[in-house]
């Protein structure tokens, strides 16, 4: 993505704007959309513009606009938790593997091999499905399944750092390994890790909404974009917006996070090159 550099900060700025708006909706969902879950089984599904429903309603008579605003919360909270959780897990395992090497390194390596043997979404469907599904179970499963990329990243960065003289001198001074890892190595690999968290948020958003779409994420009736798509699949004839709107929102949000992640990665690249 070398070219986004010459594109200037317009794309990342727009992405950030979109994400701030989504975050606002997630934080103040009930204030902006107080009637998101109001059902009206009598009228049921209506098209756009009917009865003051700008984007129409779904089969339960819920307003699509308000439901989509309320869905921002489950679309953002889960993926952010997955990305941060897998980063913590990955950083911990990666540091241990990279610093100590030997048996610990081999064990951690087999763990990442095992998790990467199947595509994350497929394995998540199997594990979350057999464990009974549910939003938080799925978030926990995805956290574990997303950790290998962080493990490999941190491990490589730690390996690169441990050969440097300052670590040698710290070791000679008799500082404990745990302290060396947290006080000396960690600050040096934070930028790489943070950029990877952003990219993982985008992948987690896609994965989590996929699982919600399959009925393994958000519970029935909860405001969630993936679930809205699943419910709206049968309404393509009556009110196509019931599935098109959350679909476009997922694509836009994931693209925004990816663009922002790429931008951070590049900035990082440049600062590393300058140094």
């Amino acid at each position: 993505m070398r070219t986004t550099r010459s594109r200037g900060p317009l794309a990342p700025a727009l992405s950030a704007l979109l994400l701030v708006a989504a975050a606002l909706c997630a934080a103040a969902g009930t204030l902006i959309a107080p009637h998101a879950l109001d059902q009206n089984l009598y009228t049921g599904v209506v098209g756009a513009g009917v009865d003051g429903h700008l984007l129409g309603t779904d089969q339960l008579g819920r307003d699509i606009l308000q439901l989509s605003v309320a869905g921002a919360r489950s679309a953002l909270v889960g993926p952010v938790l997955v990305a941060c959780g897998s980063m913590l897990l990955g950083a911990w395992l990666g540091m241990i593997a990279g610093y100590h090497g030997g048996v610990l390194d081999a064990l951690v390596g087999r763990y990442t091999d095992l998790v990467l043997a199947l595509p994350a979404v497929l394995l998540a469907v199997v594990v979350a499905g057999l464990l009974g599904g549910g939003y938080w179970v799925t978030v926990a499963v995805l956290t574990v399944l997303f950790s290998p990329s962080d493990v490999r990243l941190v491990r490589a960065a730690v390996l690169e750092q441990t050969t440097r003289p300052y670590i040698d001198s710290a070791r000679l001074l008799g500082i404990r390994p745990g302290r060396i890892m947290i006080r000396h190595i960690l600050p040096n690999i934070v930028p790489t890790v943070v950029a990877n968290v952003l990219l993982n948020v985008a992948f987690a958003l896609v994965a989590l909404s996929s699982l919600s779409y399959l009925g393994l994420g958000a519970p029935p009736g909860a405001p969630d974009w993936g679930r809205q798509l699943a419910d709206g699949r049968d309404l393509l004839g009556d009110n196509p917006l019931a599935s098109i709107v959350p679909g476009v929102l997922i694509i836009l949000t994931a693209t925004a996070v990816n663009l922002l992640g790429d931008w951070v990665f590049e900035r990082l690249d440049r600062t590393v090159a300058v140094r």
Binding site: M1, A11, P119, V121, L123, V126, V127, S209, S210, S243
Partner: protein, 318 residues
């Protein structure tokens, strides 16, 4: 040198087998971690009388220790006997064979479409780095990577099937041409995501080769653009080809969502139904079979790498 390759192959194969064993053990263990009584889960919707529960426990050897059960399952699975489905009562092996064709057709078509469109696009983007065409292709590939298959599928479904009426909305159709027509939209859905990866990959590989010294050297010696491009493409083909093999894994994940969205009775849809129904024998068998297929293609990719690129062969021999 062939001995080195053989040693590498044996070690690689051993690792793969161990990995598959661990994975199958893990999924097998999930059956016991799942909430609720296993016997009740295995009974499904049938009436849970004490006799029926005892019968199920005996039938599935639930009274035996865990490892005995697993090895029992494994020894049967190795001979191709994956047991019977709880949901339908049919042999799992037959259920998978019946649905394999459709999944293979959708994935194959998607793979073909994405490679035919995305490899040239990636080459063009790399040749015109920084120009508007490159930016458009790169921008599109970011969207393609970000967009989940079901969202793209539903939008395509609405525009081309419901709105324009060019394609059928659901189902598989009858006869070769009609079936193919039914598979176009799901395949395009998959190909858009896959193609985005391939564009990114090809562009990076070609761009890296273009920056090499030998390109400057060849040009300064007066070689034509086409000749130079030929050399560059041959060198860039190695990483692209091996990465394409790794896309097989991505295809399996994507086809699940595409099959569910377009109501196609393939392996992905079977996995979805079986997971939701807690049809353990089917989930177990499908997971292992897919993992075997993915690791085999990864192994083949490694071998292809060795045969295509003598530099890596030499590095290994040293």
């Amino acid at each position: 040198m062939t001995r080195q390759i053989l040693v590498f192959l044996v070690r690689r194969l051993g690792m793969t087998v161990l990995l598959l064993l661990a994975l199958s053990l893990l999924v097998y263990g999930l059956m016991f971690l799942a909430p609720g009584d296993i016997a009740r889960n295995l009974l499904g919707t049938r009436n849970a009388t004490p006799q029926a529960l005892d019968q199920v426990r005996a039938q599935y050897h639930l009274d035996k220790p865990f490892l005995w059960q697993y090895t029992h399952w494994l020894s049967h699975a190795l001979t191709g006997d994956f047991g019977t489905s709880i949901r339908t009562g049919a042999p799992v092996g037959r259920m998978m064979r019946e649905r394999l064709g459709l999944t293979a057709a959708v994935s194959g078509l998607a793979f073909l479409l994405s490679v035919l469109a995305a490899v040239p696009a990636g080459v063009v983007a790399a040749l015109h780095r920084g120009e508007w065409l490159d930016r458009a292709l790169v921008g599109w590939s970011v969207v393609g990577i970000s967009a989940p298959g079901f969202a793209v599928g539903l939008i395509l479904l609405y525009v081309f099937a419901v709105g324009l009426g060019w394609f059928p909305v659901y189902g598989t159709g009858s006869g070769f041409l009609d079936s193919l027509w039914h598979l176009v939209l799901p395949a395009v859905t998959l190909a858009l995501g896959l193609g985005a990866f391939v564009v990114k990959l090809t562009r990076a590989a070609v761009a890296r080769e273009l920056d090499e010294d030998y390109v400057v050297f060849a040009r300064s010696r007066g070689l034509g653009r086409a000749r130079v491009l030929g050399i560059v493409l041959r060198n860039a083909a190695v990483p692209v080809l091996t990465s394409l093999a790794l896309m097989v894994g991505y295809l399996f994940g994507g086809t699940l969502l595409a099959e569910v969205t377009f109501a196609l009775p393939g392996l992905g849809a079977l996995l979805e139904q079986s997971v939701l129904f807690k049809d353990f024998p089917v989930v177990q068998a499908l997971t292992v079979v897919v993992a075997v297929l993915i690791s085999l293609t990864a192994l083949l990719a490694d071998l292809a790498y060795l045969t295509v690129d003598p530099r890596i062969r030499n590095r290994m021999a040293r």
